[in-house]
């Protein structure tokens, strides 16, 4: 069995563990930059290694019989370039969002990415939108293969939407950062609240904007109809999703230019059969065709989002056609098992069908 060396940000359950540890036909080394990035002992095993502790790259890859390097963010691909030089191994790099923007990037970022485009073998942006962005930066299109992230469908089962219930619970899940657009959703919710007195809005996540969002809720007088839950374990989040009437991801480009790929939570909600509302942002239209698998509005637009919420709350009879189409879309292009197979196939092609 071939072995890939993966470099990601942290040994942490939120950091795309399946794409490192469950690629069919490929054993793995799970590498992080330094020991301090190993933050979950339950994921610590003999395959975890630290880049800064490697004594001799040549010996390391020989001893571990590694045939491929996979960096899981643009800046990590750049970091691996000297290692690639010394070992002569092919390097592939996933592009996940911010790494295709200049948001909060260090000095010389664009130049170093261009060096990576030149020297790296392949690039796996998580959507076509990001592929187009790196092509604009000079990445040769023939080096690009879009690799959508998938949902574990053995855990996310479809159940029909609550078309006949009278609850009106809206849910959003995502880190509390600007690009998730939580503040837009809260303002939109505020607009419709009087018309739908039973409606609730729940946001699950944690992040730097927590204080700001809490005070926004106060300012908007959202009261008991609104709750902000701090980061919950994934199973709990799934429960909340299953119980929600509508799922909303108000994604938008942040003022520093940060963007999404395709939010995983949207795919998960769609897999579960919860009707979704989102925005024409980044790769989202690749997941949702407006009025087919869900409802899309312009990003950063409170009024449009409020109208969409109203529309969906009023048109419950349409929900099932949305959710059936949505589930089908996820099964087709966002099934984790299929996507991992595709990842393995990309590896195979790169390594010459080995």
């Amino acid at each position: 069995m071939s072995k890939a060396l993966h470099l990601n940000l942290r040994v942490d359950p939120t950091q795309y563990i399946p794409q490192i540890r469950q690629v069919p036909g490929y054993d793995y080394i799970h590498m992080v930059r330094q020991p301090k990035y190993m933050i979950d002992m339950t994921l610590l095993n003999e395959k975890v290694h630290y880049l800064n502790e490697i004594f001799s790259p040549q010996e390391f890859i020989k001893k571990n019989n590694i045939s491929l390097l996979h960096a899981h963010h643009g800046q990590l691909g750049v970091l691996l370039l000297p290692f690639k030089d010394k070992t002569g191994l092919p390097l592939v790099t996933s592009i996940r969002g911010r790494d295709a923007t200049m948001a909060d990037q260090p000095v010389g970022y664009l130049e170093s990415m261009r060096m990576l485009f030149e020297k790296g073998e392949e690039f796996y942006p998580v959507c076509q939108y990001l592929a187009d962005r790196i092509i604009e930066w000079g990445c040769p299109p023939e080096k690009i293969k879009v690799l959508y992230g998938g949902v574990d469908l053995s855990k996310y089962h479809y159940s029909p939407p609550k078309s006949f219930s009278d609850s009106q619970n809206i849910l959003s899940v995502g880190r509390l950062v600007e690009k998730k657009g939580h503040h837009i959703l809260m303002q939109a919710f505020h607009k419709i609240k009087d018309k739908y007195p039973n409606a609730t809005l729940t946001i699950i996540g944690r992040g730097e904007l927590e204080e700001q969002l809490r005070s926004l809720a106060e300012q908007l007088n959202l009261g008991d109809s609104f709750q902000l839950l701090n980061h919950l374990p994934k199973e709990k989040v799934r429960e909340h999703m299953e119980n929600a009437d509508l799922f909303c991801a108000a994604s938008m480009e942040a003022s520093n230019g940060d963007v999404e790929g395709i939010p995983n939570t949207l795919k998960e909600a769609m897999a579960l059969g919860v009707p979704v509302i989102s925005t024409f942002h980044a790769g989202i239209p690749e997941l949702i065709t407006h009025n087919q698998e869900g409802f899309l509005v312009q990003e950063n637009n409170v009024d449009e989002l409020a109208q969409a919420l109203e529309y969906m709350l009023d048109e419950r009879a349409q929900w099932e056609s949305f959710t059936l189409a949505a589930r089908q879309k996820v099964e087709q292009s966002f099934d984790q098992q299929k996507q991992l197979l595709l990842q393995a196939q990309y590896y195979n092609e790169l390594l010459g069908g080995k």
Binding site: K36, L44, E53, F55, S56, Q75, V78, P106, V107, G108
Partner: protein, 484 residues
């Protein structure tokens, strides 16, 4: 008009004593001197040691023609007035970079070349002494050792770049831009490779770190009171002791306890060195910093270690968090010099460390559940959590090892807590810098603080002293592991 000459800077027992009756702000201090901002253009560095002032003056004069030197305005018996830079240091400038920009590599190589041409012997500068001006022009401060120390290869620069993971990309540029320089460095590193069976280390005496020959190019992992640790292979490191007694003591513990699962493997020993397993993973203090809760699993593993120690006849029952490494082969603990000689029946340092992380109560609850008897024994007397409380307790209990040693253990305690503080404040070096070598550590934390806090200022912060002593030639992250 205020006069900076009324500022006094003298050497105290541990750090500089600064008396500043003026309103000139202190913008940096080390073990040998302090820097005050005089205006937007000028700052003054005042030394406790006049010789240092003289050395710096000479170097600055010699370098005035070099474009990257600060302008020299005035000098005196114990001070130099020079150009002030309101700019980030190169370390700050490169923050989050994963490949050093070519423009910076070219500028660094130019600086090194010109230092050499001007006959300086110190062809080197740590990142925090390099300032990056608006147009990416570089300025280098702190030239006290410019003619004293001999660094034909930029050991400090490479070591600092290595800590922020930029050494490899820098070397890649050097190889491409100046292949001859690259070859020269490579040769230097090969020639100064470590022969640990013959390494010159001497005890620095009480309160000082061991002295290490600066020409050694092996990655230094850490050093302290009793020894220095070097990585010598993928899975091995060597600890070299200043005193053969310490070596013998630790060897005895490690060999006698080799079947205990938390004891690192020993591969080879000599009169003043031990070759042992190199442990991969975060130390437990670093790990716990990222945890919201203390898991039962961790409490259980800690309790197991302490219980095994007791059952195996260890005299010193303790497990400081930074001495425990979370490896993929379980918890491993380093630093056993006093395990068989110092009597201590409660893990006081562990308690202190857990307290600092906010986990002591949870830990004690877990222990109460897992092993009520031990819990009772530990909590019969109040648990001392401050240095004063510990010192008082040691006085009272008249620690077994009497005279000089009890003193030592006290001062060591002091150090340690200081260091754990410094650990906290320094982000980049998250990996257990641990203790020892009081003054060295001190200067280190000062440096790391000043480089972090004074985003925009100061020339020549500190570290004469530090460089004197630290001269490690190491290019590896100074990640103090086992030592003492």
């Amino acid at each position: 008009m205020e006069d900076f000459k009324s500022i006094s800077v003298t050497k105290g027992e541990k750090a500089l004593v600064i008396d500043n009756p003026t309103s000139f702000p202190l913008i940096g201090a080390g073990t040998q001197g302090a820097v005050f901002k005089l205006s937007e253009e000028k700052c003054v560095k005042i030394y406790s040691d006049e010789l240092q002032a003289k050395m710096e003056t000479e170097a600055l004069k010699a370098g005035q023609k070099l474009p990257f030197f600060p302008k020299l305005y005035d000098t005196g018996r114990n001070y130099v007035v020079m150009e002030y830079f309101n700019a980030p240091t190169l370390k700050e400038y490169l923050r989050n970079c994963t490949y050093i920009p070519e423009s910076i590599a070219i500028k660094l190589l130019t600086i090194l070349r010109e230092l050499k041409k001007a006959k300086f012997t110190m062809i080197d500068a740590p990142l925090r002494h390099i300032f990056v001006l608006e147009n990416e022009e570089l300025k280098v401060v702190d030239h006290v050792n410019a003619f004293k120390r001999i660094h034909p290869v930029p050991l400090k620069l490479l070591r600092d770049l290595n800590i922020i993971l930029l050494k490899d990309s820098f070397l890649a540029w050097v190889k491409q831009l100046e292949p001859d320089t690259y070859k020269m460095w490579e040769k230097y590193f090969q020639e100064n490779d470590l022969d640990y069976r013959n390494i010159p280390v001497s005890s620095g005496g009480s309160g000082k770190g061991v002295k290490v020959d600066s020409a050694v190019t092996q990655p230094l992992i850490g050093k302290g009171h009793q020894g220095a640790v070097y990585r010598i292979a993928e899975d091995k490191c060597v600890k070299i002791y200043g005193s053969t007694d310490h070596c013998r003591q630790e060897k005895e513990v490690l060999l006698k306890s080799k079947d205990l699962p938390f004891i690192p493997k020993v591969y080879e020993t000599g009169p003043n060195y031990i070759v042992m397993e190199y442990l991969l993973g975060p130390n437990l203090n670093a790990y716990l910093k990222k945890q919201l809760q203390l898991s039962e699993d961790i409490s259980r593993r800690l309790l197991d270690i302490l219980t095994m120690m007791k059952q195996s006849g260890f005299k010193q029952i303790d497990a400081p968090l930074r001495h425990i490494f979370v490896t993929n082969n379980g918890f491993k603990m380093v630093d056993h010099v006093y395990s068989f000689t110092r009597l201590q029946d409660r893990p006081l340092e562990l308690f202190q460390n857990l307290h600092e992380r906010g986990f002591l109560d949870t830990f004690l609850e877990h222990v109460k559940m897992m092993d009520p008897k031990t819990h009772a024994a530990w909590t019969k007397l109040p648990i001392p959590l401050t240095n004063e409380e510990i010192a008082a307790l040691e006085e009272k209990e008249g620690n077994s090892d009497k005279n000089s040693k009890s003193n030592k253990s006290k001062s060591q305690k002091n150090n340690k807590s200081k260091n754990s503080k410094s650990n906290k404040s320094s982000k980049s070096n998250n990996n257990s810098k641990s203790n020892k070598s009081k003054s060295q550590k001190n200067s280190k934390s000062q440096n790391s603080k000043s480089s972090k806090n004074n985003k925009s200022n100061n020339n020549s912060k500190s570290n004469k002293n530090r460089s004197d002593r630290e001269e490690t030639a190491s290019t590896k992250e100074t990640k103090q592991k086992k030592k003492k």
